[in-house]
Symmetry: C2
Subunit: 215 residues, 2 copies
DNA sequence: CCTATAGTTCACCAGATGGTTAATTAATTA
DNA sequence: TAATTAATTAACCATCTGGTGAACTATAGG
């Protein structure tokens, strides 16, 4: 029977740890340079592990990217699951979803750039990932229920499509953050300072709630 | 004195034509593979011109990308200029802006991917382009005037920031189209068929007008 | 303690890649 | 028409890149 080592005893070899370290380094590299601009040698350096290990665990660059993408999806889906919107009143739930989306993107900028790369490649990495494809956002059903509850109570207007609304909520944050560099330059002002960020969040809440609420 | 040739007389050599052909080929290539994934040799093939010419006219890959970006901005700004929103009533003007944005992105998918690449590189190509930086959207001032007109007439709510609204209008279309591949897969339905597209446009108009209109 | 194997390292490679040198030819000007 | 200049081409190159073969070693199980 295998003896459980004390958690602090650091092994010199550990497959899971190496996989995770590579995945993290790859995520940074892909996020920084895109799929085409990312360099395997740099991922190796970044991780402090031998390049050969990357191929040992992930076969090739595309499958490595796919693994990074899967991990990114898994992570956001987990965060979404912890949201507990069902406990809130409809309007509060929608507001919380807007805030969550904004904060998640803000705290995980890599997610945005990696998703951009995935889309540049026509989503073929998700398409080929049985795992990621199954990671259909459970939020959509929940959002549908929230919209229905709000409609019945008379707070919300009727006929709102959950997918459309979800995409709109995501899009309002996504575009602002993903295109922040060019927008800041074109508009000649820093869109990432604290004041600008808080104004953006207020604005988005007003837009989404202004739309959803019957009044 | 130089004699003006008849326009139909195709010269074997023509600097401006070559520049334009290269720019177009480069735009396609960058749009398809991103800055890092784009290949100079492929741009040469695509254009049917010798690779050396690319360096002759554009010095290096980054400056070529910069030129592509400048051209893309110039083009959308020209289209915006032709919009003539000032002639319309406030609500109609806002709706037209939403529709224009949607249609422009739809008809110029390269614009989205090139802008994504520009942002991946922290906007340094725009930053370094005196030309593109000066291409500040004239739409912002106009949008501000429209909002003010609507507020005075009582149609619109007050306190709407033109930049925020512009970013929101752009974001709603941009995210849907730029991330269309992954969204279509995740939601398990074609987001680009005619019905889906028309539903998206309706939804966006409802969101924006629902927010802007006092009611 | 020995053995099998999973994990790791090192040295290497063929082809691709951005970029250049220098010659060549079409168009323009005098 | 000759000379000058601008546009174009072909061949080339150093370096980089994704990927691999094979040797080596820490660890777990017997």
């Amino acid at each position: 029977m295998s003896v459980q080592k004390s958690p602090s005893a650091t092994k010199t070899r550990d497959a899971e740890r190496s996989r995770a370290v590579i995945l993290k380094a790859a995520s940074e590299e892909f996020s920084l340079f895109g799929l085409g601009g990312a360099r395997i040698d740099r991922i190796a350096e970044r991780s402090g592990l031998n390049k050969r290990l990357i191929y040992y665990y992930f076969s090739d660059k595309d499958q490595l990217f796919q693994a990074v993408l899967e991990a990114a999806y898994r992570k956001i889906r987990e965060s979404e699951r912890d949201l507990n919107l069902e406990a809130l009143k409809p309007a509060a739930a929608i507001r919380k979803l807007v805030e969550f989306t904004w904060n998640y993107y803000l705290e995980n900028p890599d997610f945005l750039t990696i998703l951009n790369s995935a889309n540049l490649h026509k989503g073929r990495h998700i398409q080929e990932s049985n795992h990621a494809r199954a990671l259909n956002s459970p939020l959509i059903e929940l959002l549908g229920e929230i919209l229905e509850k709000g409609r019945i109570s008379g707070e919300f207007r009727g006929g709102i499509d959950a997918v459309q609304l979800y995409i709109s909520i995501a899009g309002l944050s996504y575009f602002y953050l993903s295109n922040n560099s060019t927008l800041s330059i074109i508009f000649g002002k820093g869109l990432m300072n604290p004041k600008a960020k808080s104004e953006r969040l207020s604005h988005m809440c007003e837009v989404i709630l202004g739309y959803v609420l019957r009044n």
